[in-house]
Amino acid sequence: MSYTLIGRLESRLAALALPFAAALVLAAALAEWWPVGLAAAMLAAVVALDLVYHPVLRYQPGWAALPLGLLELGVVMAVVLALGVRAPLAVALALFAAAWLCAQVLGHALLPLWRLSYAEDGGELGRRGGALAAAAVAAPLAAAGGLWYAHLPPVVHLAAGVHQGPLVITRRERLVGEPGAVVRGGIVVAHKNVEISHVTVVGGVNGITVDGMRGVVLDHVTVLHPQEDGIHVRGEAITISHCTVDMTGVPYGQGIDISYNMDTGETMVDRCTVVGGQEGIVTHSSSAMLMHNRVERTTMRGISMTEMSMGGVMHNTVLHAKGIGILCGDHSTCMIDRNDVAGTTVDRASEDRERAGYGLVVEFGAVGDLGRNDLTDNPLTMGVFVGSLVHWQR
């Protein structure tokens, strides 16, 4: 077939209508957004490719559907990865295969039967057909968009000034602090999918507590001087970014403590600054990715990944920690790369050999996968203790 550009796009939209409807049904059945994201990624990728095909393929033989289909699959997968659509691979492949098959059946059989001049018209479907095809794709997308909008959590704006806490959030919402908004006494997140941003928390037992609530996002939050932990996360994976935790004067609390979420996904801590406290960022039995953080002046360790935790410690800066800069301990598996650790001091009050001012310690059956870390400006660079293993990345 020698497609016209309009014909190519109209045929494509017609072929995507059914998979789009299937994606919408799947999304509704699973109460998940990824089928819609997957369908939208597919649409974006293949329509972009159609624009590329048009000048290149003046005539497209039937067999070309196979190599072009493989190319399209590759591009769709790349778009899906780039957009972070978390679709199960098998379902994504099945949806793509269904869309491809749909396109073949439509292009070779059904459309020529429905519109006799389909082939001569270069795949164009006529005014009504083209509008129908576009509507068939746009309608599910619009429906999904409407649904998404309708399900957006309410936004609660926290006015500037001091609000007496503890503030307990018991519904899904986005809490957005206006400049100068402060909660005194801590925040407890008691509902899933809560987002908190641009809020400063002062005091409280913990600054922010998230216990067993999934889908929580903390963005641009500041925590000052809690009694125990700055951000205290238990039993669920959450996302923390651009936070500031000031633990000065809190000798036994942790800046960010993430524990017992191993089976609930990966917690991300990105671009946070922690000053003071016992440990800056610590994970216990958790899966976590700790990146681009800055930790200073902790009294026990800068960053710890321990108790069978698993994850990455990358691109962090740890300064002036007492005893140990970064720890991978107790049967944890840690990828540790491109961190700068400097100014670690010897813990003279401890007789523990590990606390002799190491930039990096791997201990007690842990496995460290080490890349290029800058550990030079410390009393000791690295120590490996008690049955631990270190792999060096090339």
Binding site: M1, L116, A119, D121, G122
Partner: protein, 359 residues
Amino acid sequence: MERVALVGGGLAGFVAYLTVLRSGVPPDEIALFAPEADPAAAWRRRAAAIRQTHMRSESDGHCLPATWPGLAVREARRRRSLAPLARSVCDRYHATVPDFLEHVEELRVSSGWSPRAARIERVTPVDGGFSLEGHGEFRHVLLATGHPGLAVPEELRGDARAVHSYEPHEYRESVCVVGAGLAAATEWLNALEAGSTVISVRRREPVRRPLAVPRPYLTRRGLAAFHRSSPERRALELRELLLPSYPPGREWDEPLARAGGRFRVEERVNGADQVICATGFLRGVGHDPLLRRLVDEQGLETVDGRLVLAPDATVPVLTDSTRTLAVAGVAAQMAYPAADTLGGARYVAHRFVRRCRTR
């Protein structure tokens, strides 16, 4: 005034008939005029004359109104094999001539095709339609008069050795084949197989391409520029497009290579026992009595012997919102370069039927 008339009962007329039927026009509102009852009669004679075994056209070389399901699907179903479909997807499916003719016959019987045995020689415009020489008046008329006759080079007229390739013939000991298209190539192979020595006489080296007209010209994409250009430019383009050609492939080349000295190319016809004129058909409306009279009486525009048509193969000055005069087959090449193929017949029929829907 009746609704639809199809003048000419060849394959182009047959495709148009099936398409009009498919569009929902009742059979009793379609008048058919043809000298022969079998729509494939002329085609069958020519195919038999050149001993053609397979269709040159690919998967959509059939008479059905839609491109799918075609003969590849039919054969796949019959043989319980996916091979015909695979070949079709690769543009390598060519139905056999017997299969094609059998299919035409099936369609003829099932569609109720029964033309009035009449040769229409004059079409006259009347208010809201056309009069067909005493056979009635019709709102929408399609002229599918077919090829106007066989072309024989002037210098061979009257030569007792000469026979046209589309006329029944056997092969003598030495055979001179004039031409460079599919019929000529078929004659080379047939004559070689019959044990003859073959001399190919041609003015130019044959063009090798799968179809008579390059594929982009079969759809709107390639046709858009063709339709935009002036009639003179279109006529020039047609001369280039319609150069004699035959498909590439070993099945054509190997027999010639094997023949060695039994096949040669010469510049002119000389002492061969037999001269086969594989020179195709007479070209131009001047050779078709019905079209010639129409052009003369209505002052229709022609360029290079071709009737100037609108992109939908209608005659512009005789077609308006109330009536349609369209042309199918070889005479429609100014609208669709491959109009003399089954795909071309379908193209014209699809456009004609849009107009027939208006009562």
